[in-house]
């Protein structure tokens, strides 16, 4: 914000930032930062801190970030105990300093979850998410084998619902906010995206079973319906995707139980 006198409003901040090397225990470091413009983004504030550290000859804080426009899902900081900070529906990179007060102490931590080990400082390893997708988060369609696009009509409400779920950016805030470190919101979003589309029916059951199995193996916890994930999801994905994941999982297990082979049925319905 620019004031009438043309000067930009700025904040003096105290920062408690997590410092850790891979495989070693970590601790908070305290730093003071003067004159942070309120128009700066949270990550620009972190850039300022790092530039200050370089001037003092100290190592910078490593943190993940890339697009800085809220879509790549790379940024991941727990700010004052909240993944992506205090503003709902916003990633860390889209959080701006006008949401903080002059003189405030801000605590910055990495995602905290068993399945997301710290690589350095604020950067964590989220490859567990990729493993879940690799096990079934796709519709099998080889390049070149697709039918003409309009041969598969998708009712608009279904397409919209799939799109709502597909907005997930895979950042991991759901896991970081959950006391169980559960990835159910992430997996539920992907299941909802693919399982409701006509194109996704052929692999519906095997997709659900495979993704849930991999999710468990990757060290993610179970859902106990606290709803923290929904509160901290920057894309406002809602808990009903978890209900639908549970429904599809139950359906697939029942069909598996009653099928003669003990394997998930090949068809969709």
């Amino acid at each position: 914000m620019v004031q009438d006198n043309g000067k930009e409003e700025s904040l003096a901040l105290k920062l408690r930032v997590w410092r850790q090397r891979r495989g070693q225990p970590g601790a908070f470091e305290e730093h003071a930062l003067a004159a942070v413009p309120t128009s700066a983004s949270f990550l620009e504030m972190m850039d300022m801190l790092n530039e200050q550290l370089i001037k003092a000859g100290k190592d910078t804080f490593a943190f993940d970030h890339d697009c800085r426009e809220g879509i790549c899902g790379m940024c991941s900081m727990t700010i004052n105990g909240m993944p992506h900070g205090p503003i709902p529906g916003v990633t860390t990179c889209q959080l701006h300093m006008r949401n903080f007060r002059d003189g405030e102490t801000i605590t910055v931590e990495p995602w905290r979850a068993r399945a997301f080990p710290v690589l350095k400082d604020l950067a964590v390893d989220r490859s567990g998410f990729d493993k879940v997708i690799q096990s079934g988060g796709f519709i099998t369609v080889r390049t070149g084998s697709a039918p003409e696009a309009n041969n598969i009509p998708v009712p608009k409400p279904i397409a919209d619902e799939a799109m709502d779920a597909a907005e997930c950016i895979g950042c991991g805030a759901c896991v970081a906010s959950c006391k169980n470190g559960s990835a159910m919101l992430f997996v539920g979003a992907k299941i909802n995206h693919l399982n409701i589309l006509p194109q996704g029916q052929a692999e519906r059951d095997r997709r659900t079973l495979a993704m849930v199995k991999t999710m468990d193996e990757a060290g993610f916890g179970n859902c106990t319906n606290y709803g923290e994930c929904q509160a901290h999801c920057p894309k406002s994905i809602t808990l009903d995707v978890i209900a639908k994941l549970n429904r599809d999982y139950l359906r697939a297990r029942v069909k598996e139980f009653f099928s003669s082979t003990g394997k998930p049925s090949k068809g969709g319905d």
Binding site: V2, H96, T143, A149
Partner: protein
């Protein structure tokens, strides 16, 4: 430098089909014996890696992000073009081709552009089958919109997140192959050099960003899909990590770099707000479908709130200057027009460095016509994003926008097969130069990335591999691999050892200031000559005084940035030299000396060619070569959007 485009003979419409029929094949049983390296996991890279693996090749894919899903293709908002003609409004492959080649101001290779238009329809089929949730009509069929100045509705979109959804589609295909074990995925790995054996690309050297380990990888072919170089301007709409290193390192090993001066300035970005800004955010071009662009007619009104400027005191300059296209004039033209009014002192918004660099994008007429609910349904997420960043509500007051660097049309030179002048080095997506000429039309980047990855590279790389003996790839112990690995280690060690006084970001900002001012929206001879001198001095200073904190054996973001900035410094010099030696204006390249009352003045007699630069050694200026652009079926005309 051999710049044979290998454009097939015959009528444009038949070239690709005839060519495909002649391309050699590899027996399915032999394919697993070939190792294909794909660098980059955006639309082109993910699509190519997944397709190669489906065909049966052994594939390794590398990206610097923590997951292939995060590549910057994800940030494309508006849509993807395809000549489906679902709207029955006169679209066709021929028309998409004509629009694209005209949009590029006749500086693209005709045959490549035609092929792009041809395969565009298959892309939509592929993506829909993957489950990409494109917008739909109530009847369940696909919806389209007109985008970026097209006079037909050929753009497919998924809300304001088309790039994200297409990338997730390609990422899911890639993930399936990773799960099957046919692609080995190396995330948080940065390609730092290319390895040539007997003049052919046979591998790469990477740095593991987590452990710092420098490793080499041997392959039968290398496919580079590492995006563009927009971050040479420091502030751009690119992601923070986007860089020129992979393509520039290949350039240093002999690959020609074509048309680096062709950079696209996108007209609708949120204006710069201050010194510590790290990034410019794009507001989708689709906003121009319903928003009206204006500035006050009189300078005295510029400091007032928009609501206090009466209708008759507003200058809707795009509608005034380009009545037939109005607010939808192509990107280069809309950007320049905005710059012009701001240079006249009629810009709006806060003063930054004593200037107001912004124009209004006003939705009040659209809200009156459609209602706020409809405007919210069309652009809600963009309005929210705007409010997050600026703290202003665009339903109540006009948005402020200003042009920003967005896309780079230049890239490694490739022939019709997307092969560079180094045999075995293929280049796809934004990293190559071939399809967009001097200016890219909206919704064409996603089309090109996926066209290259799904429907071109699988054919042309196979043809190349058919000529390479299976099992003939060199061992990583070969002297060529050891030598390049040593070069990379030496360079990393050098960056860490300088221990000067200025941060890599300091140099990046200084570089961006020079390139934006002298090689941005308007360029001239004196400015470019000065920029080259300034950049040379900055480069020398960098290698004496940069301070890189951190260590080589852990995540070291400053070391990553330093390496990228070092390459950008050399690259920036080449970009300015290219702009200096292209003595005409075309598309996004605007030389103030060559204009017709503010419109770009091309010189087809002298410059209907691609300029291709050859590395000549450390500290030397690169050498210029040309590939003449041959137009067999296109009449070159002056672009007019009036």
């Amino acid at each position: 430098m051999n710049l044979d485009s290998k454009t097939p003979a015959g009528p444009l419409a038949d070239k690709w089909n005839n060519h495909k029929a002649k391309l050699r094949l590899v027996n399915p049983a032999n394919r697993r014996k070939y190792h294909v390296i794909v660098v980059g996991s955006g639309l082109a890279g993910s699509a190519a890696a997944a397709s190669f693996a489906e065909m049966g090749y052994e594939v390794s894919c590398f990206c610097y992000q923590d997951s292939p899903r995060r590549a910057h293709s994800i940030a494309a908002q508006g849509g993807i073009n395809a000549a489906k003609n679902y709207q029955n409004d006169g679209d066709s492959v021929r028309r998409l081709f004509q629009d694209t080649i005209k949009g590029g101001d006749y500086r693209a290779r005709e045959a490549n552009v035609y092929r792009l238009a041809q395969v565009s329809t298959s892309i939509i089929d592929q993506c829909v089958a993957q489950g990409v949730p494109f917008a739909r009509e109530y009847g369940g069929l696909l919806a389209n919109r007109s985008f970026g100045g097209a006079q037909v509705s050929r753009t497919f979109y998924a809300r304001g997140q088309t790039g994200q959804q297409l990338l997730i589609g390609a990422y899911s295909a890639l993930s399936r192959q990773i799960g099957l074990g046919t692609v080995k995925m190396y995330t948080r790995h940065e390609m730092l050099d290319l390895v040539l054996v007997d003049g052919k690309a046979k591998g790469i050297v990477t740095r593991d960003l987590v452990t710092g380990a420098v490793e080499s990888w041997s392959s039968d072919v290398v496919v580079v899909c590492t995006g563009g170089y927009g971050n040479v301007f420091y502030l751009s709409t690119n992601a923070q990590g986007c860089n020129v290193t992979a393509t520039f390192r290949a350039h240093r090993r002999g690959a020609g770099f074509a048309n680096p001066c062709y950079t696209q300035i996108h007209p609708t970005c949120i204006p710069v707000h201050g010194e510590d800004q790290s990034k410019l955010t794009l507001m989708s071009e689709s906003l121009r479908n319903d928003g009206r662009v204006w500035v006050p007619k009189n300078k005295v009104d510029c400091a007032k709130p928009a609501s206090e400027v009466p209708e008759e005191a507003r200058d809707y300059f795009l509608e005034r200057k380009y009545p037939s296209y109005g607010n939808l004039a192509p990107r280069d033209i809309a950007s320049r027009a905005a710059k012009e009014v701001c240079d006249e002192g009629r810009g709006v918004g806060q003063l930054v460095d004593g200037k107001r660099l912004g124009v209004y994008l006003d939705f009040s007429a659209a809200i009156k016509r459609l209602g706020e609910a409809e405007v919210r349904a069309r652009y809600g997420n963009l309005f929210d994003m705007y409010e997050n960043i600026t703290g202003e509500n665009a339903y109540k007051q006009p948005m402020r926008i200003f042009p920003a660097v967005h896309y780079t049309m230049g890239g490694l030179w490739v022939d019709y097969n997307l092969q560079s002048n180094i045999p075995g080095l293929f280049v796809g997506g934004e990293a190559n130069f071939s399809d967009h000429g001097a200016n890219r039309l909206g919704a064409s980047a996603l089309m090109q990335g996926l066209a290259d990855g799904y429907f071109v590279l699988p054919y042309t790389v196979t043809d190349y591999l058919a000529g390479e003996k299976s099992g003939s790839r060199p061992s990583k112990d070969a002297p060529e691999f050891k030598a390049v690995t040593k070069d990379v280690n030496d360079r990393v060690a050098k960056l860490l050892s300088i221990n000067g006084t200025k941060s890599p970001r300091y140099y990046h900002k200084a570089l961006g200031k020079i390139t934006w001012e002298k090689c941005g929206m308007a360029r001239d001879k004196a400015g470019l000559e000065g920029a080259i001198r300034d950049l040379q001095a900055l480069r020398d200073d960098f290698w004496k005084n940069v301070k890189v904190v951190g260590s080589g054996d852990a995540l070291a973001p400053e070391l990553e940035r330093a390496g990228r900035v070092a390459d950008f410094l050399d690259f920036g010099i080449m970009m300015c030299l290219d702009a200096l030696t292209r003595e005409e204006s075309c598309g996004g390249h605007f030389r103030t000396e060559f204009q017709d009352a503010g419109e770009a003045k091309r010189d087809d007699a002298q410059y209907a060619h691609a300029a291709v630069w050859e590395w000549t050694g450390e500290g030397q200026l690169p050498a210029r070569h040309v590939e003449p652009l041959v137009y067999e079926e296109t009449q070159l005309s002056t672009r007019s959007y009036k």
